[in-house]
Subunit: 284 residues, 2 copies
Amino acid sequence: MNKILIFGVGLIGGSIALSTKKSGIASDIVGVGRNQDNLNDAIKLKLIDRTSQELNKDIAEAHIIIIATPVAQFSSILKTIQPHLSSHTIITDVGSTKTSVIESAKEILGSQYSQFIGSHPIAGSEKHGATAAHIDLFKGKNVILTPDQDTSPRAKEVIELLWKNAGAIVSNMSHGDHDKIFSTISHLPHLLAFSLVDMITQRTNANELLKFAASGFKDFTRIAASSPEMWKDITLANREFILEDIKHFENQIKLLKEAIEQEDAKKILALFENASKTRSEWSR
Amino acid sequence: MNKILIFGVGLIGGSIALSTKKSGIASDIVGVGRNQDNLNDAIKLKLIDRTSQELNKDIAEAHIIIIATPVAQFSSILKTIQPHLSSHTIITDVGSTKTSVIESAKEILGSQYSQFIGSHPIAGSEKHGATAAHIDLFKGKNVILTPDQDTSPRAKEVIELLWKNAGAIVSNMSHGDHDKIFSTISHLPHLLAFSLVDMITQRTNANELLKFAASGFKDFTRIAASSPEMWKDITLANREFILEDIKHFENQIKLLKEAIEQEDAKKILALFENASKTRSEWSR
């Protein structure tokens, strides 16, 4: 009998609960969370078998612990877990940044850090909460694991199996590579989308601007509707790579600005053609 | 019997042809274009009744002339039209920038400029050509007309009716206001999306970056797959407002960069909250 303890039974936590149940990996799925309504939803939807009544006992008995809360709660949850952690339990998280998470895990878990492995399922959505969870959320999606030399082979195996059972495509990379890659393809675009919408709200004719904004603007700014709290945490946690990317992007914009100032049609066209070709060939 | 002459029977030209036919505004719809295959499609799909065999005669007899080619061809088409233009014919275009179009029209049409009114239907798509045309393209979409003190009341009436018959919501504004608004809500986002994709292609790990890019990146960069030729023309035609907006955006990014450098969580959160609230409330 496998006991899985999930902190944060939202979109991600609830969906992984569903697939572990279905695949038979887990027979006792226990949910922990601060929002009782959400936990009630999770039970009603059969994402979890029960909530934790004796948390220390559930921690001590858990085969797998999944921390699926916002990143900012990670350290305090790990501190709750640490005193009761058996040597057999494997822990993972689902955060969008990995270096800060792994630094915390090393610090808090000490010699038991080997039982931890970071996960990042690339399966976000604007929807959230237990009611948004579904069994196909990770099907065909990338999940990145960030083991290092201290991670136990068993932690790698157990967590890889967890995600593969959910239908995910599992890759391994260092936490540094992870954070550098996601700074560029995810964090920077979010900051640019937030910034464009912010800029528009500062205009005296903001309402008129928004009235005429159409489908291009809609798609470009969709990610600007993301959770401010979550993205503030990601931005701070990954600030070094993000600052590097902002500087690269500023330089990119400067080159385009100069080409426009010089009315350099050839250069502008070459830039657009390169981007258009790359984006057209990249399909998902 | 109303004769409508359409230069460029693509997505926009073909769709307006369909609705003028259906509403009975036009009984003889004549297509002109450089691409014979596309014109054949347009006839086969009954977007147009025929192609022009005697262009000067068709120009002289047209009640309405619609110029729906890429903006860069506008001047040369207007020069073709001008010598044969009757005093009863109304002309419009469908370009995404209006100031450069109107300057050309004033220069080329001279005293007959009063017969011209600029249109901008906000109904783009990545699809193009006659085969992409459909009768509902403009339904519920904004179309902006840019008349000035020299535009004849009849030109305003005829072209407003043309678009209203297609189901569009018609607004009037000056060509300057138009270009300033669309610089911010359309042209700048396109340049940012092109720039982000360009930046990624320059990385040695571009393939790895694109491999892990997910739905947020997909939507953010969708417009980076747009026509490079068309967007080079728009960028140059509207370069003054675009350069102003790039400078505003650079400043916006600088403020965010400083907040990240200072780890100013409160300021970062306030920026994101403002953007997220605005974007969430704006729905289309």
